[in-house]
């Protein structure tokens, strides 16, 4: 059986990008929502 490292790297690479991307999405969304009441207060 050949080493097939390319497949292994592809699978782990896609997983890393996907999980990191979701973590970033959650972080940005939480930050945006937390900032919203403060913005309202400032506007008021």
């Amino acid at each position: 059986m050949p080493a097939n490292w390319g497949y292994v790297i592809a699978a782990y690479g896609i997983a890393a990008i996907t999980l990191f991307g979701y973590w970033r999405h959650l972080t940005r969304r939480a930050r945006a929502l937390s900032a919203r009441p403060a913005a309202k207060t400032q506007a008021a």
């Binding site: 699978a11 999980l19 929502l33």
Partner: protein, 213 residues
């Protein structure tokens, strides 16, 4: 608590990588490509856990009408879809060098694709309904019906002739896995469970903030 979970998940993932690539031996038949198992199997077990929580949250919401149950179900479904997607992609990449094809309409693969589509539909349904109570009720019905597919996915390799191998863990017989490979798999499963708990905690907090705005 969420921050601690995040750090534990990060440490767990590092330990999982060390176990999968450093500690576990090269598999005798498949070679290094078998190391995709340390990603593929924990992903599907995490998806099972997520959809189990969707079921619990759905039943809880229908019984009590408390928004917390709906937040649990909706958040777990989103993360479950993420991990089901990873399961399908990693399985496809593993399938090419071992089966000679990226995809085949085998019972396990097909039922997993159906599972993915059902919960994508669940998330679409949630996004289409404005009223929180109606959204919670309709989503709960889909969440309960969708959970029926989880045992179908798991036992598909037993019930139908499939190209996919039978269960090597979570089966009725003792696992035939080499102890070193089994330990690496266990470490990765714990790491993925911690990552799921971290994502769930953050996603539920976001859902709570969304309800307030």
């Amino acid at each position: 608590m969420t921050r601690v979970l995040g750090w534990l998940a990060a440490l767990g993932l590092l330990a999982g990588l060390a176990a999968g690539f450093g500690y576990a031996p090269r598999e005798a038949v498949q070679g290094n490509v078998q190391r995709i198992m340390y990603l593929h199997v924990p992903s599907v077990l995490t998806a099972y856990l997520a959809f189990g929580l969707v079921l619990a949250g759905s039943i809880g919401y229908l019984a009590t009408r408390r928004p917390g149950w709906d937040r649990l179900a909706g958040s777990a479904a989103e993360i479950g879809v993420l991990f089901t997607g990873l399961t399908i992609v990693s399985g496809s990449i593993w399938g090419k060098p071992t089966w000679g094809t990226w995809w085949t309409w085998d019972a396990r693969l097909t039922s997993t694709a159906v599972l993915f589509c059902v919960y994508v539909g669940y998330l679409l349904l949630r996004s289409l309904i404005e009223d929180p109570d109606a959204r919670g009720r309709y989503a709960a019905v889909v969440g309960i019906l969708g959970a029926v597919n989880v045992p179908i996915v798991h036992f598909s390799v037993k019930w139908w002739r499939a190209l996919h191998q039978p269960s090597t863990i979570l089966g009725p017989e003792p696992s035939p896995i080499d102890p070193a490979i089994g330990l690496a798999l266990f470490v990765n499963w714990i790491a993925f469970t911690l990552l799921f708990a971290y994502f769930l905690s953050r996603r539920m907090e976001i859902a709570r903030l969304e309800e307030q705005t």
